[in-house]
Symmetry: C2
Subunit: 446 residues, 2 copies
């Protein structure tokens, strides 16, 4: 009947999604959501406030200052008279939001935002055109104490502890230090050189050196000095000590060193274990808006994944939208990419759990009411529960639970109702236990 | 310095979002998220499994069968060689998903999906071009027992109980009943007549009658019979009894009546209070894919809002994408619109709470470490806590807590640390209490 109503078109369109896009099957989706929930929970424990801006914005507002690669990747189109663009990150919408709602916000404004962003990149393994970012930022009004740079690192620490995906190191640097160093060495194309420095891990020090000579015209002495400074490593205190002794007189460099020193001292007093952070002077973060502390986070056992959480301090978030000075500091986790890498690298197991259901009730004929009432009781204890209502052989009902990874199954029939005792089958071991309703809740919670 | 790096463009772009789009301020966003969380939680308690499909799909796949108004409203555009469209609901993506991943899914497939959808409607009060839908569906493989139609109603009931936004009534009908009635009365344009019937509440019975005559050429007898049947109301059992006596011999009508009877009998045995559901034979749900039970949900005290949760049974979900027969039943809550109406109608209060933070710690000079360690302890109890680090006068720090609606504030100084006793100020009453760390957690949890 339905078919008749819908007319004659019975042509089948092959179901598929666009290249560069991703969607997850239930067992993956549950794990992904678990990670997303842990991130959100950690952000909220630190008092970050959620915002949720439109995915589509006015193109002229969203792209107020963007050029080059960003503009090329943006999904931009017209609808009626409107020139539209999909957001390509959560930072520009934050800037727009804070400028627009300035009078309604309380500063320092601690916001988190977990949402999808869009970049029309060339599709390649592990890169997606639609992906989740999980961002936090602390925005000050006119000023923002540098201790916030240390607190952001504490949030990164707490987040990756909560995610529980192995040992990690948060590497920090300070852009003033690099900028000052570049000034001292009379390097003009600071952003370009930053981007080159960023690649040092990927292409190696020698390649960087030769590019510094060939592309930026640096002489040997300058290259040596640059490489000597950025190769300083060791324990945070030692790095600071050595930086203080380096013969660079540029003032910005000195400010950078002292900011880094202050951030490290706060991090220490906040109790972040030394195993979980380090100073890495080769981190530059190519984005042009960072002006102070910058962060990258690596999983120790999987360095090839690259940074899983990055960010930094900026002097002026919303200068395209307001004359107010709004300094801030924040970080972003590219969750879709991280999840893909974790699963693909075998770092996390997607497993066989395809539902949050803890208990499947299988009522025999005439016992559906009893089952649904029991299910209501189980749910009132915040435990997910299903009743198998559909017609099928008993074996198929058990197989439903088995395939979904539901851990407990109970058949409800005359005996169970009469004796007020349920026989619960643990699906992993096959063990059966007799319980009353209260004991049932206990078992399911345990 | 940041400015210099960024070049000379200091032009200010007025920050704004597109007409027809909405974004919330923190106090509203927190309430919105609370509602979204309650809906998600209820869906999960009933064993629905999350999916999260791309917002952008291939236009030819997404629009496989859509025409008319839907097609006009769709955000459709090109990027490179791709013809793209933003999803306009979560049902078509579900159909595509189920067809595409058929072999990886366990049936009956109970899925929920909470996400944004896009419709380029003419902007008007309370209608948005980007809005959240919260959907559940149960999809069977070849068959799906009608008891699922009753369970969906139970989920609606549990969801609106959890939302706690006042008394509500879930109204149900069965499309077979209407279709059979139309056949009996030799009405051809069934979908159009359904849509007319749907408007009965809005335009009144007389207007419907005259349109039935003028636009559909029905004679007086047919109109009378139609109106007599669909005006049958009362308690569910009485309605069924009267329907069984109606002189309509059409078989489909009879099937509709008996399906409705079966659904009502399950609903009763499931323990849904009679105050919360009714049969309403004027509900038609204009969408052409419904084939059996249909649902609408109204807030009793705010009928003008219209239905806040609607859906129905369909025989064949994914016929555009697969030859497999996949019957299902599901509902959708248009959360953005609902939230807007609740706030705008004064049904819920957005209030002054702008953060989830429960406790603000204000450390005096030299006590930041102590404060951050205490904050860590508070957070480990799953309680949101902030430390005020930035330079400001004490009054301003308290005012920060006050403006955000943080309920507890504690200043940490020499006395507090020495005596291991904190003075906690309750911001609503101004009361101060002395607590140790354990008691603190207790107070914050209470």
């Amino acid at each position: 009947m339905g078919n008749k109503q819908k007319g004659l078109n019975t042509e089948i369109v092959t179901p598929s999604i666009l290249p560069g896009f991703i969607e997850l099957l239930p067992n993956e989706q549950l794990l992904f959501n678990e990670m997303k929930d842990k991130i959100r929970n950690t952000f909220e424990l630190f008092g970050f406030i959620p915002i949720d801006t439109p995915v589509i914005e006015k193109a002229d507002v969203l792209l107020a200052k963007s050029g080059g690669d960003t503009a090329k990747q943006v999904y931009r189109f017209n609808k009626g008279d409107n020139d539209l663009a999909l957001r390509f990150d959560l930072t520009v919408p934050l800037a727009r939001f804070v400028a627009q709602h300035y009078n309604d916000l309380i500063f320092p404004f601690r916001r988190y935002h977990i949402g999808k962003v869009y970049r029309g990149e060339r599709p390649q393994k592990g890169r997606f055109r639609e992906f989740y970012q999980c961002d936090i930022d602390i925005i000050g009004n006119e000023t923002l104490d540098i201790i916030n740079d240390a607190e952001i690192l504490v949030v990164i620490y707490a987040t990756f502890k909560a995610l529980d995906i192995g040992d990690f190191t948060i590497r920090i640097n300070n852009r003033k230090l690099l900028n000052g160093l570049f000034s001292e060495l009379r390097i003009d194309n600071k952003i370009e050189v930053m981007r080159l420095i960023d690649k040092i891990e990927k292409i190696g020090a020698d390649a960087v050196k030769s590019e510094l000579a060939s592309d930026f015209g640096l002489d040997e002495e300058a290259i040596d000095k640059l490489m000597t400074v950025i190769s300083i490593n060791g324990k945070p205190d030692d790095v600071i000590e050595r930086l203080e002794k380096v013969e660079i007189i540029d003032e910005i460099f000195q400010v950078g060193v002292s900011e880094l020193k202050e951030v490290v001292s706060h991090i220490k007093s906040f109790g972040v274990p030394e195993a979980n952070y380090s100073i890495d002077l080769t981190i530059a973060r190519g984005l042009d808006y960072y002006t102070g502390t910058v962060y990258e986070t690596n999983l120790n056992d999987f360095p090839s994944i690259g940074s899983v959480c990055s960010g930094g301090r900026y002097d002026n978030l919303a200068q395209n939208y307001t004359k107010k000075k709004l300094p801030g500091v924040g970080i972003s986790i590219g969750l879709t990419r991280l999840f893909y890498q974790l699963v693909n690298g075998g770092i996390i197991e997607t497993g066989n759990k395809k539902t949050t259901t803890k208990l499947l009730l299988i009522p025999m004929d005439g016992y559906k009411d009893y089952a649904i009432n029991l299910a209501t009781k189980v749910r009132s204890n915040q435990i997910s529960c299903e009743v198998f209502f559909n017609d099928a052989k008993l074996g198929k009902k058990f197989s439903y639970a088995d395939k979904l990874g539901i851990p407990f199954v109970s058949v409800i029939g005359e005996d169970e109702v009469k004796n007020e005792q349920l026989k619960i089958k643990k699906m992993d071991s096959g063990d059966e236990i007799l319980v009353d309703a209260d004991k049932l809740i206990e078992v399911l919670k345990g």
